[in-house]
């Protein structure tokens, strides 16, 4: 309550209190913000009426009502966080879509510059060593790792701009489609090597399950929840800064 400026009358003090409540709510649309402020105002006035009925003077009644409702910036921030969490579900998808789009373009460029496919040096009966396996994991992992990082940066920086710039989230589906082909063994040799390795270690059915799990972890869990999800939380924190 020490952030409330001095004001003339009770109404002015309520106005100043509401101005502080609305400070962390800059990212909230006007109508939602106005409705919430109106509700808080009604609450302050009703509580002040109650205190006046108990015998306090007008100034003390309003002061006590505001004190009872709580620190105004914290109140505004808390409500704004609830609003943003409920109404910004597409935020992390936007960041994810942009990063996926960038990577699809990069992948296309690399494929274009490398017209001759890399030889896949795998033979059905050849035992795959640890070194080759590490190499295949590194080759598979670089795209999701970059995707996670880019998604996080975009989500933190300007997710709405990212969505507008990309024109929707079509790129994300393109990226998934591409990787689904890769999961089937085309055209990424790293996946083939990985599939070959787990096929040697596990029964056929289990190897498919493991391949799908790795795909989900690399392309869904890592970028969506770790990268963009964290970025979304940070974005909400940034948007509710007073």
């Amino acid at each position: 309550m020490n952030r409330q400026p001095d004001a003339q009358g009770p109404d002015d003090r309520i106005s100043d209190y509401l101005a502080l409540v609305s400070k962390p709510m800059k990212a909230i649309p006007d109508e939602a913000r106005r409705n919430f402020l109106r509700e808080v105002k009604t609450h302050v006035e009703t509580l002040a009426d109650h205190y006046r009925d108990e015998g306090r003077d007008a100034d003390a009644a309003v002061s006590d009502a505001m004190r009872m409702i709580g620190e105004p910036v914290a109140l505004g921030r808390s409500w704004a966080k609830s609003w943003l969490a409920a109404n910004e579900p597409g935020t992390f998808l936007s960041a994810f879509a942009l990063s996926a789009g960038i990577l699809v373009v990069l992948q296309c460029i690399v494929s274009f510059l490398q017209p001759t496919p890399r030889p896949v040096m795998i033979f059905v009966n050849e035992k795959i060593g640890a070194m080759a396996l590490c190499q295949s994991i590194a080759e598979m992992a670089w795209i999701p790792i970059v995707l996670t990082a880019v998604g996080a940066v975009c989500g933190w920086w300007k997710p709405r701009g990212a969505r507008a710039g990309l024109g929707g989230s079509g790129a994300i589906y393109a990226a998934y489609l591409f990787q689904l082909f890769a999961l089937g063994g085309w055209p990424e040799p790293a996946w083939i090597l990985f599939r070959q390795y787990i096929a040697q270690q596990f029964p056929a059915a289990a190897s498919y399950v493991i391949a799908i799990l790795v795909f989900v972890i690399l392309w869904v869990v890592l970028p969506l929840f770790l990268g963009s999800g964290l970025a979304r939380r940070e974005r909400i924190r940034r948007l509710t800064r007073a």
Binding site: N35, R38, V40, T42, H43, G70, S78, W79, A86, N87
Partner: protein
């Protein structure tokens, strides 16, 4: 009082649903009802009320409607929805089981201390 505050914070949605189960109310009345029914043990910091109300409304568990009465200030009155009633029943069951389990443990400790 720290313990009560933590308990209140985690159970605010349940308390709101419980008081709205009896009658529609506006924000101030909800806070008053919770305090009164708890025998003034649960002191509401009203700032926690509105984010909880918004979350419940957004989840479809309560519905808010502005009332414009000539004699009074315009105010938003909340009422519980069918989904809210189902949620309250589920939360009540979960809380009863939890409270029973904690009572069984605390009761045992209490008996040992008095013995």
């Amino acid at each position: 009082m720290g313990n009560e505050r933590e308990l209140l914070k985690g159970n605010t949605p349940t308390l709101i649903l419980a008081v709205l189960h009896e009658a529609p109310m506006h924000g101030y009345a909800i806070a008053q009802a919770i305090e009164r029914r708890s025998g003034d043990i649960l002191k509401f910091k009203y700032g926690t009320l509105y984010p909880a109300l918004y979350s419940l409304e957004n989840a479809g568990l309560i519905a808010g409607e502005w009332e414009h009465l000539e004699s009074e200030r315009p105010r938003k009155t909340y009422s519980i929805t069918d989904a809210g009633r189902a949620e309250l029943a589920s939360r009540t069951t979960a809380w009863s089981q939890f409270a029973l389990a904690v009572n069984n443990i605390i009761g045992g400790v209490s008996r040992e201390q008095t013995a």
